[in-house]
Symmetry: none
Subunit: 198 residues, 4 copies
DNA sequence: GTTTAATCGAGACGGTACGTCAAGTCTTGGC
DNA sequence: GCCAAGACTTGACGTACCGTCTCGATTAAAC
């Protein structure tokens, strides 16, 4: 079933791996995803093309690895000051700043997009980046639910999406700006619906 | 500002235009967006490559035109039976069926995605397809607001996004299934927050 | 049976064709046949690789065409002064000079060699370059035979090879020098055997 | 002058050496010289690439060694029954049979050819395979000369080439068949010229 | 018999060229 | 003047080998 005699990863060159990540991230920022090429990455990294093809199936996969190396930081979860609205606004405002940073936009948007046409890649992208991001919101909401701040009948997963999806949709599709005002309104309107009934 | 001695559209061949749309839509369904080529469209349509380049700047633009020709049907707005929850659920369930249809997925997803990397195209896509879709929801919500069914303090645009974005995000990013259950829960939780305060 | 939709040769670019020939001949002289590459020819000729692949199947075929364009000059046959020995020596000495010219050696040797491993090419090479060269000798010998200068029982084709093959073999395999002495001895010893018997 | 810290041949693996020869000869027969690769030989021989590069400079050199291991058999010289014509015809007919054997053709032709573009290799090839072959003919002719069967004024080296070159040239360049008829005619016509003058 | 250093199988590496595909431009002949 | 057709230059694709390089694991010579 293994379709090509898998390479021996214990002999892999760490130096090349880093150089490829650095080159890929730099280039996607400079020329954009469509004009990002394997040859370009290889040449910028001072690496043979084969070294890329040996370890990754596509430029999207390279970029995904390169990106996740720098991004794994969902470990600590969302802050919990006891004030759910404040906590959500605080984190979303910070995320808005991050999403408005051009250096971050190019690779992330590229991956979102590449995923849409490549189901395999999509699953990795979602599992590695999107789901963990959603999960921390779900957990914060569940905590609030347990604290009685959120109605027991609420589906917290859907609630989390009600906050996150309008946010990322605006950014991805460029249907609107990610302002603090928007973030605040969004959080307020979502939370209105989560409060326990009288 | 005219960048090439614009072609004389009065002499344009309608037969070629249709053939190109048909070929583009057929091909994007068969081979996917990434493997869709101008040469492929031209050859399938029995048309010279130049005829495509004369009238469109990119394969995405061709596809966008091809797609919108068949889709302009937001004219009538959302139903208004007086029961907001029922109306939203009804339309979203129908939309879920549509989005789950493979024939519809390929070109739509391709466009969503192509837009992410091409700001110019993105604006057309959003203006021509996305915004009209959002607007009918905004209008239905405003009607409900005027009828006193929705609190006067609510930002109906954000409310519309709270319904639509989780829905389209799930589909686009494959973060979840578009089931009737999901649609119902989503609508219910959003509407909880919109009700006028006591 | 035609295996690729043959290109339309009436629309062929003569300018590209010449540039390819010039580049191929120049490069084979500079770097040798083994290091001659299609990419090198294309780039030196200012031509796309595809334009070469469209019209020729291999670098050997390009070189063969390039070479024969410049070489078709067997038209006039060998001189016939009535003195067979003198005529043969005269022509072979001139040919020795030619074969000792480095500019001529590279492509000719390359073709001889490429032919050895490619039967198809070999046939063209032999038919286009080698056979015509042999034929003029055969004709000169037949004339001498009719003039009674060569025995009627002699196989002139084999006789021609007795003159030409030692000559070209020495050159091709580097088994000896092509000196005037060698040429003279060779002609004399061959002709000894051709004289009519008493 | 030793250009790399020469390897210690006393520790050389004989088993690997044989395996490499076998693989090289087998492969050149199967895929031809052009498609013969060092990697292919190494993998077929179950040997590391370095083991080949350590002991040979090129695939041609490997093949030359592989070939000469099996071929050293010029020791005994040509037969001398006293009948020069008969002796030459006998040996050349046998050689014709050998050259017409496909198993022999591939490596030999490959080497002849590789030599044309690689002067260093050429010299080894000529010295190790070609010259010894010519020499036995030269010696047989000299014996005949001393026996008074060949004119004293004849250059026996050139005479040997008059027999051998048309033969090998026909084979190498595919300008004609190696039939018994050809061999006989060739020998007869050459010998006509060698007879002592009246 | 043990030590020890070179050779060995294996294969990752930086490269070059392959032969193919498609992009976007340009030219030709037909309507 | 638009059109179908397709040759052109360009540039990237993914593959095949090159020749160099490291990595344990033999393995045969020197101790």
């Amino acid at each position: 079933m293994a379709n090509k005699a898998a390479p021996d990863s214990s002999r892999r060159s760490e130096r090349s791996r880093r150089a490829i990540f650095d080159a890929a991230l730099a280039l996607v920022g400079e020329v954009g995803y469509d004009k990002l090429t394997i040859e370009g990455i290889a040449s910028r990294a001072g690496v043979g093309k084969q070294t890329i093809y040996r370890w990754w199936p596509s430029k999207a996969a390279v970029l995904l690895d390169a990106f996740t190396v720098d991004v794994e930081d969902y470990e600590q979860g969302l802050p919990d000051t006891g004030d759910l609205a404040a906590d959500l606004k605080f984190v979303l405002r910070a995320t808005a700043d991050e999403f408005n940073d051009p250096a971050f936009q190019a690779p992330y948007r590229a991956l979102a997009v590449a995923g849409a046409n490549d189901e395999e890649l999509s699953r990795t992208f979602v599992g590695r980046l999107l789901e963990p991001g959603i999960r921390v919101y779900v957990e914060r909401l569940r905590a609030a639910q347990e604290a009685g701040e959120v109605d027991a009948g609420i589906d917290v997963r859907v609630a989390a999406e009600m906050v996150l999806s309008p946010f990322s949709q605006r950014w991805l599709m460029r249907t609107g700006e990610l302002t603090y005002d928007f973030v605040d309104t969004l959080v307020d309107q979502v939370l209105r619906g989560l409060r326990p009934r009288d």
